[in-house]
């Protein structure tokens, strides 16, 4: 790329990005040194020493439930795609605010609980190019699409568009991104594939 479309974009620091709000953990200060020991569930009540029915014990695992049922929500989608690298700059799409948490929409809403495997779930992601004439908007959109298709189960349908009025030619970009044939063709282009692989390298 000879010249950069946007040579000097605004970059957010990692601490400014939205993260999953941990459930409120108890205070950890100098005075709480022994809280964990004092309030721990006694070891004799662990398996295999106690019987089949576990003994109720107050004040444990209130804030830490590893294996609870949780549907795929906007934050999870955000975490999947915000780490994609920008094709121009060595920073992530999240840091450039190309991807924003509020522009991710899931229907039916994840707050209704985890959907059945046969329920079709629509995921709509609106990207915001850093400038309105960004020539790479399609590539970015394609990257987001590829990433989500690789990471979501088959009953999730992905729709990537440019946010309204964020691009001079948003209807064209949207058309390209929405066209299955064109997407498939694009993925067979080795150069484009190389760019996409590079972008997705930073996704864990």
């Amino acid at each position: 790329m000879a010249t950069l479309d946007n040579a000097n974009p605004t970059i957010l620091s990692a601490s400014q990005l939205p993260t999953r709000q941990a459930k409120l953990a108890p205070r950890k200060g100098p005075e709480s040194r022994y809280n964990d020991i004092v309030f721990a569930k006694p070891s004799y009540l662990a398996q295999p020493f106690c019987g089949q029915d576990a003994v109720a014990w107050p004040r444990t695992s209130d804030w830490h439930d590893e294996f609870a049922d949780e549907a795929i929500d906007e934050q999870e989608i955000y975490d999947l795609i915000s780490t994609i690298s920008d094709p121009e700059h060595p920073v992530s799409l999240g840091q450039l605010s190309v991807i924003n948490l509020c522009d991710i929409h899931i229907t039916p809403s994840p707050s209704l609980g985890a959907p059945e495997p046969n329920t079709i779930v629509q995921v709509r992601v609106e990207i915001t190019p850093t400038i309105t004439h960004c020539s790479l908007a399609t590539v970015i959109g394609l990257g987001v699409r590829v990433r989500l298709e690789k990471a979501l189960p088959p009953n999730y349908r992905v729709d990537v568009t440019c946010k309204e009025n964020s691009h001079n030619q948003d209807d064209q970009v949207n058309k390209q991104l929405g066209d299955k044939e064109r997407v498939a063709a694009a993925l067979e282009n080795d150069t484009l594939k190389g760019v996409l692989d590079k972008m997705l390298e930073t996704c864990a």
């Binding site: 009540l45 295999p48 019987g51």
Partner: protein, 1183 residues
């Protein structure tokens, strides 16, 4: 008579270092023992003649180049011989001869003889008969090398440098040189000429040292000084060539050169301007160089004598250059270096010079205090100078504080206030340090004169800010400011008047008592707000941390400030449990209680006994509060929060004592601890109701004089007493127990059973409290107090009588088993947890006593033979734990009666079941035996218990409950807290290997069908599950030899038995084996994939359950946690396969696995989705 020529020849021909050494040692011995009239020295020197130039006795042509190597070796023969020669072996004439012989080499033999000569001369100089005049000669000869010197290899040059340094530091030679050359020091000028182009790091190290020695010990003229300065200055700043292979670090080299700069104050007029000039070069100077320059300036300032002339004239120049390094500096290393220089400068100045300097610094800095950008850096400058010494502090602190106060009145930004408060805080910390510094009477007088500036600080600066911290909804910026302010306020309380030096630590405080308590109260108000005020703004936690630490510090200094806080807290706690919200009250009590515990008990004040008073007062208040809550029938959650606070307090105070490194073995005064505590602390004794404190013969303790170890002992007894009171409150006496008709204890009437979970927690909390206290006692202390009795009487020794000894040793166990035990209430009922933690804390010697009087046997037998099946889910695991502890801490195999009884019990359960037995009851009985085995195996089970192991091996054969019996075997190897060394359990290093060999391995054989008697699929599975659950707790190397078989079993179990705890163990083991030895799985890839995909896709319902598997074998619905755990393991295994095996083995399954993984990306658990995505990516990359 030795032939030196022969020796020399041998030496020249020898290749081996050891051989050469032997030859040189021989030659040295010959010289020392040879008859003097034969002049061995002369013959020895002549021995190298054949290799010397112009000897002419060999057949070489004149044109041919001499053999340099051989000649060098010949000369080395001489020098090496000298190494082994006694220092007094040579006569002065001989020494002289040798000096001139080797000296001549410098002139004539530039190619071969220099290294050998230099090392030989170094030896000779050390000889007793070396004459000091020869030193000058040697240096002259060395200088004769002239241009040939730089051509020598660095090793040779190093030898010469070392020779010169040796000469110059030998006192006689040194004085001779000074006498001969005077201040013009001609020899030095020659040396400088010789060495001016030195670049080798090792040589430079010595060369710089030579220059330093010369500068320090000789008194050269100004011209010579300049000449030397000119020599070393050129090297500055020095760096190590990158290719350098020597062991010298750049730091060594810099330090050596720095020593030249700081060697003499006579060079001050050149060094300081030179160094400042280098510093002011601006951009071109790298950080490393800058730091080097600063360190060098500092070394000069520190080392130069006569600072009035060598330092004072440059003060303004230094300050002028350096202040910008801090004011505008960005790199912490250079800022720090600069501050150190300024500090050194201050320490060297006195009188008017100091006054002028501090005035300049103050003038320059206080204006910057008003500028937000420079506040913090000007603060650092101020502090670096005023902290250097008391006199600087006295001169500067008043204007500094005045300006800080002025600026705080009109801060420009929140950050500005924060910086100003931080500076003030550091000034206060500095004052604390300086108060203890040694000062002349006059200085102290001056120091005292500025006390008045500190006294009103609280009112003027801190009060309003600190008090604003306890309001609700403090904005973020203000929280930061308050955080600074509380630290300052804490430091302010600790200030002592300047003239308190030498007085006891707590006798003087700068602030009046009223102000101190005001500060404590307002700090406490913030903590109160944090505990009671609901959710808080961001950053508030940090404020609370700082406040807690500040208040802790304040009360350690102002000790009488603590008790009012306790009273205040007591009021808050009381109102909370009486009228407060039932859900919030326990949280508030715990939070507030923990704060005060940390504040008053986590560190001992300077007078350690005050700490004990704090502890006593607080614990007394908490205890009375607990009993009040119990009396008022408050909710059990309230009891829990109070007793948890008591426990935290005890733990904190124990830490505080341990920090003073007390003698933990210090014995208690005597065993009648109870009486003593009651008499000493009547107020404490009154709490609890059933008896009153009696002021008797024991005098109140002379607290002031106690050592930390004595304080700790006192603390342990007080805590034990507190535990006792709580225990007694939790129990009630029963004259006739329903089962036995004998005396027993039961839960007191406070326990209504309305909130069973919290009541259980309360029991656990009080028991862990008492257990902790007993645990902290040393072995002798436990024995002296008869702590073993606490575990069986639960502190009701006036009611529960302890048997003295076993009446009938041989039939003891048998009679218990037949007649039943009177101690069943202690091991089987709700109170058992109170006994458990004490047993856990006892050393084996104390446990031994319980076996001596027979109670332990009663506990074991009634615990394992219990006929009661209605055991509560809480008391049953406790019973098992008690059995485990007793079996571990005492060798119960040595009690044949006990083992026989146990074996009999187990045989009855395992081998001779009757159909109408309650299966649950059988399972519980077998669990008891397993619990005992768990304790025994840790310390290697004795051979007497073999029968038990044999029974265990058969247990899974049982057609009805065999699978339960097999599963529960896990109890034997699973880790448990009472069986750790921390809890004085006996744990031998290879116990797990032994269990594997004796128990697991034979079971494994049965599981794989190697036992012809057991071919039934179901029984084999029982065995397999037992093996897997035990192997799960073992490291791979233990079962490595059988890994193939275990892998097969785990696959079979996972295949046949749906998702559940058994499958989880199977997957756990499977994963472990694949991680440790992937090749073992190669033949099973297909099955592994099949199992894993069915587990994580939760299709187990669809897979056919084998016909032979009875219903109810596995719980129908396993809990979501186990399900998710299985899924995670399965996904991890699947995701790991592409890394373990080559793609050709996996490709046939790829499409199917990918399809399943795609589906798994929509798993209901978030963590599993993440694992599934990773696995999916790993499979997609498969080619």
């Amino acid at each position: 008579m030795a032939d030196f020529r022969q020796l020399a020849l041998e030496f020249v021909l020898a290749d081996d270092e050891g051989q050469q050494t032997t030859i040189a040692q021989n030659a040295a011995r010959e010289i020392q023992t040879g008859a003097p009239n034969l002049n061995p020295v002369a013959r020895w020197v002549e021995a190298v003649q054949p290799w010397m130039p112009g000897s002419g006795n060999d057949a070489e042509d004149g044109d041919e180049t001499p053999d340099w190597t051989a000649r060098a070796k010949a000369l080395e023969f001489l020098s090496r011989t000298l190494d082994f020669l006694n220092k007094d072996a040579l006569k002065p004439s001989q020494v002289k001869l040798l000096v001139s012989f080797f000296g001549a080499m410098f002139e004539v033999d530039h190619k071969a003889g220099i290294l050998a000569s230099a090392s030989a001369l170094s030896r000779i100089v050390a000889m007793k008969s070396f004459q000091k005049q020869s030193g000058n000669d040697i240096i002259n000869k060395v200088c004769a090398l002239k241009d040939d010197f730089p051509r020598q290899v660095s090793k040779t040059r190093l030898a010469i440098y070392e020779l010169v340094r040796f000469l110059m530091t030998t006192p006689e030679v040194s004085s001779d040189l000074q006498h001969k050359h005077g201040s013009s020091a001609g020899f030095m000028i020659d040396l400088i000429q010789l060495c001016r182009s030195e670049r080798d790091p090792e040589c430079l190290m010595v060369w710089f040292d030579i220059l330093r020695v010369f500068l320090v010990e000789y008194s050269p003229s100004k011209e010579v000084l300049d000449e030397i300065y000119g020599t070393f200055k050129l090297y500055f700043p020095i760096a190590l060539p990158r290719a350098s292979q020597t062991g010298i670090t750049p730091e060594d080299l810099k330090l050596q050169l720095r020593k030249c700069f700081s060697a003499t104050h006579l060079l001050a007029d050149q060094t300081i301007p030179f160094l400042l000039g280098k510093l002011d070069q601006g951009e071109g100077v790298t950080v490393n160089v800058k730091v080097d320059i600063l360190k060098t300036i500092r070394a000069c300032l520190d080392e130069y004598i006569n600072p009035d002339q060598s330092v004072a004239p440059y003060v303004n120049q230094i300050w002028g250059s350096l202040k910008y390094e801090v004011r505008n500096g960005e790199i912490e290393d250079t800022i720090w270096g600069t501050l150190e220089v300024l500090k050194s400068l201050t320490t060297r100045l006195k009188g008017d010079n100091l006054r002028d300097y501090t005035l300049t610094v103050t003038r320059d800095c206080v204006t910057d205090l008003a500028n937000t950008t420079y506040t913090s850096s000007s603060g650092r400058l101020l502090v670096s100078v005023l902290s250097a010494k008391p006199s600087a502090f006295v001169l500067m602190v008043a204007p500094a504080i005045t300006h800080i106060k002025d600026n705080l009145r009109h801060p420009k930004a929140p950050m500005h206030s924060q910086d100003l408060l931080r500076i003030l805080h550091v000034i206060l910390e500095t004052r604390l340090l300086l108060t203890d510094a040694e000062m002349s009477a006059e200085d102290r007088e001056d120091f005292a004169a500025i006390d008045s500036f500190f006294k009103p600080l609280y009112e003027d600066v801190y009060k309003a800010t600190v008090e604003s911290g306890s309001k609700s909804n403090v904005p973020y910026d203000d929280i930061k400011i308050v955080s600074q302010a509380v630290q300052g306020a804490g430091a302010l309380v600790c200030q002592r008047p300047a003239k308190s030096f030498g007085l006891p630590a707590e006798s003087g405080r700068l602030l009046p008592e009223g102000t101190c308590s005001q500060i404590c109260e307002s700090l406490f108000a913030i903590l109160l707000q944090s505990a009671t005020g609901g959710p808080h703004a961001e950053g508030f936690d940090e404020l609370v941390d700082e406040t807690t630490k500040a208040l802790q510090r304040a009360t350690r200094s102002y000790t009488s400030g603590f008790n009012p806080l306790v009273d205040h807290v007591k009021g808050v706690i009381r109102s909370n449990w009486q009228t407060g919200n039932n859900d919030e009250a326990p949280e508030i009590i715990t939070a507030l209680g923990a704060h005060i515990a940390f504040v008053g008990c986590s560190e001992l004040p300077k007078t350690a006994s005050n700490g004990l008073s704090h502890f006593l007062y607080y614990i007394q208040s908490l205890l009375s509060e607990l009993f009040a809550a119990l009396d008022a029938k408050a909710a059990p959650k309230i009891w829990c929060s109070l007793v948890a606070t008591i426990q935290s307090t005890i733990r904190y105070f124990n830490d505080a004592c341990l920090a003073g490194n007390p003698d933990k073995e210090l014995p208690f005064e005597d065993e009648s601890w109870l009486q003593r505590i009651k008499e000493r602390y009547p107020e404490l004794a009154q709490i609890g109701g059933d008896e009153s404190g009696t002021a008797g013969g024991n005098q109140p303790l002379a607290l002031q004089t106690l050592s930390v170890a004595e304080i700790r002992n006192e603390f342990l007894l007080i805590s034990l007493f507190v535990g006792r009171q709580i225990y007694r409150r939790a129990t009630k006496t029963i004259e006739s127990h329903a089962n036995t008709g004998k005396k027993a204890l039961a839960l007191s009437d406070d326990f209504t059973g309305a909130d069973r979970a919290s009541e259980n927690q309360y029991l656990h909390l009080i028991s862990s409290l008492t257990g902790f206290v007993v645990h902290e006692m040393s072995e002798t202390q436990q024995v002296l107090l008869r702590a073993d009795n606490f575990a069986i009487t639960l502190f009701r020794d006036e009611f529960i009588s302890i048997p003295q000894a076993i009446a009938d040793v041989s039939g003891h166990e048998q009679s218990i088993a037949e007649n039943g035990s009177a101690w069943g209430w202690l091991v089987l009922e709700f109170l058992n947890v109170l006994s458990l933690t004490i047993l856990e804390a006892l050393r084996p010697s104390s446990i031994g006593r319980l076996f001596e009087n027979g109670v332990a046997q009663e506990l074991i037998i009634s615990g394992s033979a219990s006929t009661a099946t209605s055991n509560d889910a809480f008391t049953r695991p406790v019973t098992l734990s008690i059995l485990t502890i007793l079996a571990n801490k005492h060798k119960i195999e040595t009690l044949p009666g006990l083992i026989a009884t146990l074996e009999q019990l187990a045989t009855g359960v395992i081998r001779a079941p009757s159909d109408n037995d309650d299966q649950n009851y059988r399972l519980e009985q077998i669990k008891s035996t397993y619990a005992l085995a768990a304790g025994m195996t840790r310390r290697y089970m004795g051979k007497e218990a073999r029968g038990l192991v044999q029974l265990f091996k058969e247990a899974p054969k049982d057609p009805k409950t065999g699978h339960h019996f097999g599963r529960q075997l896990e109890m034997i190897v699973a880790s448990q807290q009472p069986l750790t060394k921390e809890n004085y359990a006996i744990v031998k290093p290879l116990w797990m290997q032994k269990v594997y060999f004796e128990l697991v391995s034979p079971m494994l054989q049965v599981a794989i069908g190697a036992d012809p008697e057991v071919q039934d699929q179901l029984t084999k599975t029982n065995f397999g599950i037992g093996v897997l659950l035990m192997v799960k707790h073992m490291n791979f190397p233990i079962y490595e030899a059988d890994a193939d078989k275990i892998l097969r079993i785990s696959i079979a179990v996972a295949q046949n038995i749906g998702v559940g705890p058994d499958a989880k163990a199977a997957l756990d083991v499977l994963k472990n084996i694949l991680v440790e030895a992937p090749e073992k799985g190669k033949d099973h890839i297909r099955s592994i994939i099949k199992i894993c995909t069915s587990v994580f896709s939760n299709k187990s319902a669809s897979t056919q359950k084998p016909e032979w598997l009875p219903d109810g074998y596995v719980p129908a619905i396993s809990d979501p946690e186990t399900q998710a755990g299985c899924g995670k393991l399965a996904l991890e295994i699947t995701g790991g396969l592409p890394q373990m095996f080559e793609s050709q083995h996996l490709l046939p399954h790829a499409s199917q696995v990918e399809r399943e993984l795609t589906l798994a990306c929509g798993h209901r658990v978030r963590d599993l989705r993440r694992t599934a995505r990773l696995a999916r990516a790993a499979w997609t990359e498969l080619k």
